[in-house]
Subunit: 253 residues, 4 copies
């Protein structure tokens, strides 16, 4: 029975790439996304055709009991979850205060914060019994500073960053490696950037950029996620940023 | 008609002191707390006996429409809210992950984040029409780092800090002064520290400390809040910390 | 004998304004600048004509024994230095790495870091004996992040920020109030911004801006410096930022 | 001709381990330390016995022209420097302000800041011509906050962090990968921790700790340095922390 790498938010960008990369290195990839069975199948097929193990789930993590049941199910039927990738974003577009509804403000928190908290409460006790586990949390610039059209996103991600710190403070010494990974730039991902821009714009952008590497490669992100997981417990990284060499860092003018 | 200083979270610590201080300087203090009519009356009486204006409200800010109705009511019946003091804390004690319920995790977010967001959406448009307004948000060390027994508090306050930044980014240039004030130490406040320790312990602590000034004086905090409000728009402070000279700063060993 | 407010870096911007403001409130202002006797006299005259005390010095703080002798001299002949304003900047223009000489890299450190260290070593023991003293350090955005043409400035100011923290960590509990004040914007100052732009450009800029308050008023900064000094020891601020309501904060896009 | 990995500060901890690791992966390791020919020979021998290339230098980097000449020499006689590891620390013990001499305050800056600046000015133009290069800078907690007995160290490392940011801001887009790596914990290193504690204490500590992994393994650090170097330019990390799973993070209580 292979150990499991559970990816919550397995769009065809960071999520699916991280899952695939772990599958290539001996893990059973469990890919979870909210919708789009076709895209999910595509990701699962890619892994299986390479001779590796993958299982897909269409689940809305913000629904009651969803992630709790999923974790129980996987642990009983597939294998011990050794790696958790929390890749659920809370971006809902550039909106000023008057354009931001209570509903989306709450949604952002439910997906970015409460979902992580629930996942941690369900999964970390199991990891703790095994004295082993990796919690990789994808984050965004909005966790570091609040821009004017990011009220719900910044509030959600800023809270998530602090939650990663408190989890790390409680559980690192128990052998659980929690990492907060700030993706500070545009990722070459059809399900997020592509969706935001629309297919046509996205393809045009990619054509224009050519091999410039301005878009962050999700495969390259996956390699770093895997290396963080491989780190020996005497030399763990809790926080790091990732951006393209062409990106301006968020703190620079 | 005097301008209003509305204090959400008007316990007999920072909240009531800030309200009283603004009342002393020409504002009608509107003090809001969730419960304890007696303590509320005490705070109101103190202001009125000094010949100043004060009105008290027992309101639970996390209830639907509560703060929205309150703001409308005050604007119609008392005066324009020129100063808003968001002093609602989200501390619910030192609890490890297993001890933290979904319910209190959500409560912390509702009071620290959603409440501020709702207040901003109701009040800032009015301030913006008047091209004038001060938003003073009390914050805590948990907004800056997550400790192991602060999962809900840190997540809530970290989100709040980012929300203060995004509000500032959108509204400073419209004349709304938003300040995030990190209280990094124990405040001499019967309704928070006193409640946490119990009356007996609290009184003993105060006796032991004597005039050492280890506890932060809420009156002295109030003076700084007022000075931030007085700052000219060419020289605004958005973030500052406050601690006793005897406190170790959160970043120090 | 009045207590002294010693301003190192007393150009006709923040420095002279802070000195004047403290002189208005009962301090003997000792103004120190490296050059320009005429401008120094002008600042001193303004204070004296208002009926207050001021003494001027042309001193290059980076020279050996300069600040050490000055502090001894003032303490013996003028009065106890109760307030120190370290207002020496280390900006030397926008220069890429190839344009930055070893010499100016060292100069920036000498003025921003070593000068503050020497001042602290000379003055803080005296303040400590009196269990009283305020150390106000003017800082810049470059202390918070390094931009591409700020190699020497950022290195110098980043070091200075940490030194302010270590001084605070050692001496706050001894009654010495150390504050690190990040000026994040252009100040309306003829001796710095004016010198950088040239008189003609500077005057044109001010005319164009009119009463927009985009330039930070050094008088308004002085008021905040004074308020920090007034803070009671139970409620001290160590770090704060100041910018115009029209400034974009350094962390925002 | 193999590419060179130049390690400045090649003590038998992080420095020698990083050099050895890069030598194992195809680099000519150039190890530089200030003194102790015997220890240097030991490190060089280890690499050579494994069939890899290494050259040792006893050089005091703070001396005029030292690092400039070294870089020229290596580029002409050994190979292109593709990786630079700036591993020179500036720790000189726990000293309060009165115990810190001007001399050691200056030394800390010369080694932590000026040395890095000089290295960057000599080496980055060569890397830029080749559109390729990795600059790995070892940093410490003192770059993030100043403790009371760290005046010289904190000032030096705080400045260094900002310099790394400004170098990154100018040169990342030119293909130079600059990383600031915060080592937040005690490293199992005979030439630093061992020297600080003395041989006897150090050995006793290691015996007591056994296989607890409280001391950070320099070999494990080396692996992370190498992975940062391997990162594709579309997904670079500029800043990360490393600590043992048993270490309390600097921001936690």
């Amino acid at each position: 029975m292979k150990p499991v790498c559970l990816v919550l938010g397995a769009g065809r960008g960071i999520g699916a790439n991280v899952g695939t990369y772990f599958a290539d290195h001996g893990y059973h990839a469990c890919l979870v996304r909210r919708s789009n069975q076709e895209a999910l199948n595509e990701s699962i097929d890619l892994i299986q055709k390479a001779g590796n193990l993958a299982t897909g789930y269409l689940i809305n993590v913000i629904e009651d009991d969803s992630v709790e049941d999923l974790i129980e199910n996987i642990e009983q039927n597939i294998g011990p979850i050794e790696v958790l990738v929390y890749n659920l974003g809370a971006q809902s577009g550039m909106k000023l205060l008057a354009e931001t509804s209570y509903k989306e403000f709450e949604w952002a928190w439910r997906i970015a914060n409460l979902g992580l908290f629930r996942t941690a409460q369900s999964l970390i006790p199991l990891m703790q019994q095994r004295e082993k586990g990796t919690f990789l949390v994808t984050s965004a610039t909005a966790a570091m500073r609040g821009n004017k059209n990011q009220h719900s996103h910044a509030s959600a991600m800023g809270g998530r960053r602090m939650l990663c710190q408190s989890l790390n403070a409680e559980f690192a010494s128990k052998g659980i490696h929690i990492a907060h990974i700030i993706i500070d730039g545009m990722v070459d991902a059809p399900d997020t950037l592509g969706k935001m821009l629309g297919d046509k714009e996205f393809n045009k952008l990619k054509e224009d950029l050519g091999s410039s590497d301005l878009l962050i490669s999700p495969l390259e992100i996956a390699k770093t996620y895997y290396q963080i997981h491989l780190q020996h417990r005497s030399a763990w990284t809790h926080e790091l940023n990732i951006s393209s060499y062409l990106d301006k860092q968020w703190w620079n003018d």
